[in-house]
């Protein structure tokens, strides 16, 4: 089994469009949408959410007013300003609470509990292609620790094994924090989708620094490549210096927006134009994964 993780650092480069297009041309595969904070794959792949599972992550403190003696010790020690007081009534500010449990340890009358929180759902779905999509939805303000991403990846591996599938395509998370780290862990190859803007280059460099720590091979697609010839050149230099293979440069094309507006992948929207291109990209990826 081989795992390809597609990330971008910066939003709006076309990462999800590329991932969806690859889903259409890749054989023997399934997709894991690890962009759990703002999952979008489903808008193109139209999953049926056949299996849904509640997701629990992180603890929050709760004060039982029946036991609480209003000593205020919890408020004194809380570093996150998460204990509120109205008259002699103490309660936990749900959003501010980090779930560290210090108040739980210190309460002299054991009035505080630390239940694990239901912060989202994970799904195993069938897509309109007849393939499997593993995805999830994280609730508002949830602690995005990477655990939900790990769950999506774990389910993806399990289903791939059950179905005898060989390729797992992962639509990764943006940024450089926990969810990206979780997206990258276990990858065989990383595909960076970038764009020739100063922001795009800067974010690519930052996310590459993170990827280097995992010693995973990287390849790159420059999207909207003709938007800025100078920066495209800078990106090419960067890729060459760092040993990241440049797969292709895709010129700026309104099809990217038009296709998703129709709820379609590029390959569905204009097959004559995009199918050969993405088939070629997929062949290049398979070669790298050997």
């Amino acid at each position: 089994m081989k795992e390809l993780v597609i990330i971008s650092g910066k939003g709006g480069t076309g990462k999800t469009s590329v991932a969806a297009a690859l889903a259409f041309v890749a054989e023997n595969s399934l997709i894991a949408d690890c962009d759990v904070d703002a999952a979008d794959m489903h808008l193109i792949l139209k999953p049926d959410e056949e299996f849904a599972e509640d997701f629990y992550s992180g603890l929050k403190a709760e004060i039982d007013p029946a036991i609480c003696t209003s000593c205020g010790l919890c408020q004194e020690i809380c570093r996150f300003h998460a204990i509120k007081q109205v008259d002699s009534f103490f309660s936990v500010d749900f959003l501010a609470c980090e779930g560290c449990g210090y108040c739980f340890e210190i309460c002299p009358v054991k009035a505080i509990s630390l239940p694990q929180q239901n912060v989202g759902q994970s799904f195993i779905s069938n897509t309109k292609l007849g393939t499997k999509l593993i995805h999830a939805r994280l609730g508002i303000g949830a602690d995005n620790s990477g655990k939900l991403v790990a769950k999506v990846k774990k389910d993806a591996k399990r289903i791939a094994e059950e179905k005898g599938l060989y390729y797992i395509l992962v639509d990764g998370s943006p940024g450089i924090g926990c969810p990206v780290i979780s997206s990258l862990s276990g990858a065989d190859l990383v595909l960076f989708v970038t764009e020739p803007s100063l922001s795009g280059l800067s974010d690519l460099q930052r996310v590459w620094e993170l990827t280097k720590r995992f010693a995973i091979k990287g390849v790159c697609l420059i999207n909207k490549a003709d938007l800025n010839a100078e920066i495209s050149a800078q990106i090419r230099d960067f890729l060459s210096r760092e040993g990241i293979g440049l797969l292709q440069e895709i010129p700026y094309d309104e099809d990217f927006s038009r296709a998703i507006t129709q709820g379609q992948s590029l390959v569905e929207y204009a097959p004559e134009k995009w199918k050969p291109r993405f088939e070629k990209i997929w062949e290049q990826i398979k070669k790298e994964l050997k």
Partner: protein, 113 residues
Amino acid sequence: MIIVFTSKGTDWDAKMDPRFGRTDYLLFYNEETKELSHIDNREVANQAHGVGPKTAQILFERGAKVLITGNGPGGNAAQALKQMELKIFVGAGEMTVREAYEAYQRGQLAQGA
């Protein structure tokens, strides 16, 4: 010597689990007594943070000296394991536990950092 495997089941024919921190089970094999025991790690996997290091602590408490796994531990867990002078062997993610042990004995597994 005590060898620990990350696995999806509790016996020699179980498939290996490629992950470390969130592995389903930890299988301990005592080479002297030939005893195979296991711990269900899924409760640890259920935690949000620091799962790798927590799992490493369990290995420590059981006196494991060799870890055989798939991908290898992530950064935080690796730090913890280094502290323990434990040898890590990777690349067994697709094998059964038995196959992984045999591969280890034949020197066919790569040593992790």
